[in-house]
């Protein structure tokens, strides 16, 4: 993370309803200077509405938004000094690339000479020198995205807001732009709030990820923590894929949590969690955490034996479905290099094991 001059953005108890429908419920968030915060969630989870409230395009029904400690809740959009990127770029179709970028400066009454100079610098920053006099319609999607980026950063906004900025780009270009954007944000030390439904994008771009669901924040944590220690079934399912095994906490001692499944299997987790025996929880296992060995094995913690049902070649990995109890399957990812000569075939009996550090305890809905 950059050492930064970016602003601190703070959302406190933000709510928004349309009629009887509550779109955003009691959202509390903080993006510190220079940090990239991703609002991640499925469509309709309230992430875009939350971003639009920061921008001032939507007024919160309750709660307060501050930037660097000063409330902006009542401040009109044009006085918030923010930069924003839209999914469809939203360039001004009647203005040239340079005029598009210069727009924010001319709204701020910057002199003509300085406006042109700074607009050119911003275009250079997004590597679009030479495109000044083109019209937006004559540019490719990636180029339009860069113009939008230059337009948003040219007047040195306090915060950069990104609304699904790469949704319209193809996969390869999207990845390029993501890396470029991350570098640019870090270089400029801009506090950035990103809205996305793409977990990969959130993991690549964000320092902090806030997973939203039904208008609420489900979990806020660093990208890596979110992936390695999801608190709920929803988060574990939304970020990466997981096997969910119903289980109840039997005992907790010294950082170890012991759980028991309805079928009697024992799971042990050393991942810290805040749950007690009364909580409805499940054990979540990432497919890539599981190791397979041929044959069955005696009952032990974090061990399941079963029959291979299907296997699917996915390029770098082999996905294998193992039925360990009637109707209950475990999905396992085996890297192709590790599969070797003896890969599991349907009908065979194999044993799955995983370590205690990879055993996640998550809240069930």
């Amino acid at each position: 993370m950059a050492t930064s001059n970016g602003a601190d953005v703070c959302l406190t108890g933000i709510c928004r309803s349309y009629g009887d429908v509550q779109v955003v419920r009691d959202v509390n968030l903080k993006a510190s200077g220079g940090e990239i915060l991703a609002l991640l969630g499925p469509s309709g989870c309230g992430k875009t509405t939350t971003l639009r409230m920061v921008a001032g395009l939507v007024q919160p029904s309750a709660g307060d938004i501050t930037i660097d400690g000063a409330s902006v809740t009542g401040l009109p959009v044009h006085r918030r000094n923010l930069g924003m990127l839209f999914q469809n770029y939203a360039l001004f179709p009647h203005l040239t690339v340079l005029e598009n970028v210069a727009f924010g400066l001319s709204m701020r009454g910057v002199s003509r000479a300085e406006t042109a100079e700074r607009a050119r610098q911003a275009l250079a920053l997004v590597r679009l020198t030479g495109f000044e006099d083109r019209m937006p319609a004559a540019l490719s999607g990636g180029q339009q995205q860069r113009v939008a980026m230059a337009r948003a950063i040219v007047y040195r906004p306090r915060v950069l807001l990104l609304d699904e900025p790469f949704g319209a780009l193809d996969k390869k270009l999207r990845e390029e732009m993501q890396i470029e954007l991350r570098q640019l944000c870090n270089e400029l030390g801009l506090t950035t709030i990103l809205v996305t439904h793409d977990q990969e994008e959130a993991l690549i771009l964000a320092d902090q990820i806030a997973v939203m669901r039904g208008g609420r924040i489900e979990q806020v944590a660093a990208a890596r923590v979110i992936y390695e220690r999801p608190v709920s079934h929803f988060v574990a399912d939304f970020i990466g894929t997981s096997n969910f095994l119903p289980a109840a906490i039997v005992e907790k001692m010294g950082g170890r949590t012991v759980l028991k499944s309805p079928q009697g299997a024992i799971f042990v987790s050393t991942v810290p969690n805040d749950f007690s025996a009364q909580d409805r929880v499940a054990v979540a296992i990432r497919p890539e955490s599981v190791r397979l060995t041929a044959g069955s094995a005696p009952a032990a913690a974090n061990t399941l034996s079963g029959t291979i049902r299907r296997s699917l070649f996915k390029g770098q990995i082999l996905s294998i479905w193992m039925e360990f109890a009637a109707g209950a399957e475990l999905v396992v990812s085996v890297p192709i290099e590790e599969a070797g000569a003896r890969s599991p075939e349907p009908g065979e009996t194999w044993t799955a094991r995983w370590s205690e550090e990879r055993t996640l305890v998550v809240r069930e809905q």
Binding site: P93, M107, L161
Partner: protein, 329 residues
Amino acid sequence: MSRADIIDVPPPLSPDTGVAGASSEGGRLEGMASRLVGAAWSLLAGRYTGYLLVAPTVLFLAVWFLWPVLTMVHLSLTAHSVDGVMIEGFTLENYARLFASDLYFRILMRTIRIALMTSLFAALFAYPLAIAIARGGPTLARLVTITILAPLLVNVVVRSYGWQTILNKTGALAWVLKLLGVSNPPVLLYTEWAVLIACVHVYLPFVVMPLAGAIGRIDRTVEEAARVAGATRFSVFLRVILPLSLPGLAVGVSLVFSLSAAAYVTPQILGGNFSPLLGTLIEQQILTLNDWPFGAAISTLLIAMVLASNLVFLKLVSRRFARWTAGAR
């Protein structure tokens, strides 16, 4: 796809040649001929679909519009009246007379002035209304649409007499102004202002509707991007909505200009004899003075004027607009 799939075309017709009787041979030829005609037809229809679709309208207009107009132009060039006596033969006398006489020239200028002013005022009033239709809620949009379309539902004569009762010396407007303390309220009836007010009233929808369409097509996120970038609502209008709605405005203003330049009933009733427009002049020449060639010349001039101004105006706007979509893929 396998090879068998690729070569699986309908079997050739040759096997039954010579085997079947003459009658079946004839039937087959007939079938082929009709198929050939069908193919030719569909080829033609495919290539000329556009022309075929507009053909009925074009024919109708050619017979009922283009031909009469040409006859009119012809008449204006082949005869003129001297002291009430019609003289045949090619002449530009009618046009010379139109520009030579101070009276006629003033009427021409007044017509252009009123048409321009009507367009201008209609455009000014149209923007807020069009924005309300395009950006307001569905109820507001419907309400505004009905309100501005309402004058079109009323017969032009009724509507004009309605304005007369409002604008005359003892009319509603004078009454209200007196109540407000204006001691000597202006009488608008039989002035250009009366004509202007009535024209703006009735022609407003012709500019509001295309304008609302154009504004509705402006991406809302473009406006939002402008606001986030620091534009006040007024700047958003000036820098985004106004330029992007120009094509719609151009269509609307062209319509209003054409309609008000050619207006007859409204100026006749509300402008009276003190401020006649070209329409009134034409009526006088043809119906009262029986000078058809001169009436035809005025009509020709009116049509040429409206056509030329529309072409120039729309060309300017479309050239500007083409730039925005240049190289669009």
